[in-house]
């Protein structure tokens, strides 16, 4: 009788031990699967961030944003140089994507593709949900535009030119005598550090629905045309810069009404293993 009771008790104890071990082993297997899944997604996310940084390097460009909660506005800042300083920007861009898809893909054992056909035809960044586009006429960045968004309230541009500016044709520019929905600040310096004024001002309100144009004439050659307001092909509240025979370093800040979650993306589909996304330069 005693032996039978001991057998039952030890049997139960061993059963509990068995159950415990079984739960432990299955939980470890589950954790291994989770780890593998998270690892793949993390790797893809890391690669996307890597390519976004490279993209800004290839395009000689950077973008950032912050929220001004006290005034209920979002500030987006772009740093850029126009035109591209690269001798063959299209070729360099193609070489970069080829490098990612072949060399880097093989080295990391990841299946990576970059579809940039659409971007190559119309290089641009999209600021969502503001419907603001920051774009170029080509990869050579021979023209820069910010399309009209009803949410834009302020363009502030620091322009540094690599030429001496000895004349300005600002006959097509009209500062508004009263407040309008669009405020523009043009802080322009030439290669001698001289500040260039537009109609004797550096900033003021303009009409978002009429075209304002100023042409800065370089010495001995070259010019920069700045258009703001209703720019043909881009709509109201737009900005358009066209350098010809000179180079301009730009720091452009755009104030947008509201503070929703926003993102700056490049319409260029990047696939890393099974993860697919447009290139995201900023989200916040």
């Amino acid at each position: 009788m005693k032996g039978f009771v001991f057998t039952i008790i030890f049997g139960l104890l061993f059963f509990l031990l068995l159950l415990d071990a079984s739960i432990y082993v299955s939980s470890r297997e589950g954790a291994a699967v989770r780890q593998a899944t998270y690892g793949r997604v993390d790797r893809a996310g890391y690669a996307m961030d890597d390519f976004a940084t490279d993209f800004m390097g290839v395009m000689e460009f950077s973008a950032s944003s912050d929220k001004l909660n006290s005034s209920n506005k979002t500030r987006v800042a772009f740093s850029d140089t126009i035109p591209s300083l690269l001798a063959f920007p299209g070729t360099e861009f193609g070489q970069w994507t080829e490098f990612i898809e072949n060399d880097f893909s093989n080295a990391t054992n990841q299946n990576i593709t970059i579809n940039y056909t659409d971007f190559q035809l119309s290089p641009r960044l999209l600021v969502t949900p503001y419907n603001l586009t920051y774009g170029y006429s080509s990869l050579g960045k021979n023209e820069l535009y910010l399309n009209g968004s009803a949410q834009v309230s302020n363009y502030s541009i620091l322009i540094h030119l690599n030429r001496d500016i000895n004349a300005t044709d600002d006959s097509g520019w009209a500062w508004s005598g009263s407040a309008t929905p669009l405020y523009v600040s043009l802080n322009i310096t030439d290669n001698e550090g001289e500040q260039i004024l537009v109609k004797n001002q550096t900033s003021g309100y303009i009409s978002p629905s009429s075209l304002d144009r100023v042409v800065l004439l370089g010495d001995p050659s070259g010019n920069l045309t700045i258009e703001a307001g209703s720019v043909s092909g881009y709509g109201n509240s737009s900005l358009h810069l066209v350098p010809l025979g000179l180079s301009a370093r730009l720091n452009t800040t755009v104030l947008l009404n509201g503070t929703p979650e926003m993102a700056i993306t490049v319409p260029m589909l990047v696939t890393v293993d099974e993860q697919q996304s447009n290139l995201i330069l900023y989200r916040g």
Partner: protein
């Protein structure tokens, strides 16, 4: 008794699957990823590639936590063009390997490269 013996054998078989987790690679992977991202975004990788000197890379490796050992290699066209090791330690085997691409600009051209970090715990 026979039933008990069977149960015991099964339990031991399962228990034998237990293993001590000696080294957890995940924190080191995260650290390696952040380390390379910091080197790229801070311009250290590009500076090294353009200047041809690995002093900046060695200095950066020296800033890693004392429990981490690692080495960096810069690749161009699939070939190692620069190497830097953390002073005072060496990894017998790399517990983690992480890579990150970067672009090095020289005048009006640029070259596409990647950095490889191999690391272990000391």
């Amino acid at each position: 008794m026979l039933v008990s013996a069977l149960i015991m054998t099964s339990a031991l078989a399962l228990v034998s699957k237990f293993e001590a987790q000696l080294e957890n690679a995940r924190p080191l992977e995260d650290l390696s990823a952040d380390f390379l991202a910091m080197l790229e975004k801070g311009g250290t990788l590009e500076d090294a590639a353009v200047s041809g000197g690995n002093g900046g890379l060695i200095a950066a490796l020296g800033e890693l936590p004392p429990s981490v050992c690692g080495h960096l290699q810069l690749y161009e066209n699939g070939t190692v063009v620069m190497q830097a090791n953390r002073t005072g330690c060496a990894c017998d085997t790399d517990l983690v390997v992480m890579r990150r691409t970067f672009v090095a600009r020289e005048d009006s051209t640029e070259k596409e490269m990647y950095a490889r970090f191999g690391g272990c715990y000391t």
